[in-house]
């Protein structure tokens, strides 16, 4: 894995009919989602977003991530622009019942990690079959 060379991917701009109140583009963050027996973990790349600028909303089985970016350096003259700077937004439908009281989120170096513990009742239970 470490031997691989990274390739640049173009940031995907969010296509939506809903108009934003902010005059900046919105991008779809790249995510990893993995599941363990206890929890669902979501990791999202949101460079430029700090801990105070993240909004996570879970409503029923609908998860919304939003990150806002402070645009800096507006007085500078742009010489080359290879990537766009803007907010992040992405929505997910959660397939499992999540214990909403135990959701944990942290952000470090522009990477948001969200741990969504599964609700007790939904954890797989092992049922042993007795011989009669």
């Amino acid at each position: 894995m470490a031997e691989k060379d990274l390739e640049a991917k173009e940031k995907m701009e969010l296509q939506t009919t809903a108009e934003s109140t902010r005059d900046v583009p919105s991008y779809i963050p790249a995510v990893d989602i993995y599941e363990s027996p206890e929890a669902l973990t979501l990791v999202a790349d949101m460079p430029g977003v700090g801990p105070d600028n993240v909004a996570i909303d879970v409503h029923d089985n609908h998860l919304t991530l939003r990150g806002t970016v402070t645009i800096e350096g507006e007085k500078e003259r742009v010489l080359l622009q290879e990537y766009g700077v803007g907010d992040y937004s992405r929505e997910f439908t959660l397939g499992r019942a999540i214990d909403q009281t135990k959701i944990e989120a942290s952000i470090k170096h522009g990477v948001l990690t969200l741990t969504l513990p599964k609700a007790e009742a939904k954890k797989p239970r092992k049922i042993s079959v007795k011989t009669g």
């Binding site: 894995m1 470490a2 990274l6 390739e7 742009v78 522009g110």
Partner: protein
């Protein structure tokens, strides 16, 4: 000038759109530092960068989410800036089942020829929320000078 990259080209033309191909080639030749880009950039080399300037400094910015500052190596030699590093992604652990895997790990190396002479001793790099910003002070002789008009 030399920050312009040679974009990936198919080995064989994918279509017989010769004029279209020619136009693309011409657009590429005439992309320059004045910000006039004939077509939007499609970056191939990691990491994509933004370059800007003011009267005193050049600024090179790049989004490097999840990369530890210790894993970023910046060096300046003459008018060449080299940006090198590795993105390591922590292992999720045993027994997990991936539903989506869009983030990637790997090494990167990029060499940028700067559009102005800089003072290498004053170069500063700030890493904030996964965004790297390199501040390169322009060499004194390359700074724009304000000329006052004297009234006689």
């Amino acid at each position: 000038m030399a920050v312009i990259r040679w974009y990936e080209r198919p080995a064989l033309p994918r279509s017989l759109d010769v004029m279209g191909q020619l136009k693309k080639e011409m657009d590429r030749l005439f992309t320059d530092f004045s910000g006039r880009t004939a077509s939007p950039h499609r970056a191939g080399v990691f990491p994509p960068i933004n370059v800007s300037e003011d009267s005193e400094n050049l600024y090179v910015s790049s989004e490097l989410p999840g990369i530890e500052p210790d894993d970023i190596d910046i060096s300046v030699e003459g008018e060449t800036l080299m940006l090198r590093g590795e993105r390591k992604l922590p292992e999720a652990g045993e027994g997990v089942n991936y539903h989506r895997r869009e983030r990637e790990a790997g090494r990167f190396r990029r060499i940028i020829t700067l559009p102005a002479r800089i003072n290498p001793d004053g170069v500063d790099a700030i890493f904030k929320n996964g965004v790297l910003k390199i501040v390169l002070p322009k060499a004194v002789e390359d700074r724009a000078k304000q000329v006052k008009v004297k009234v006689q």
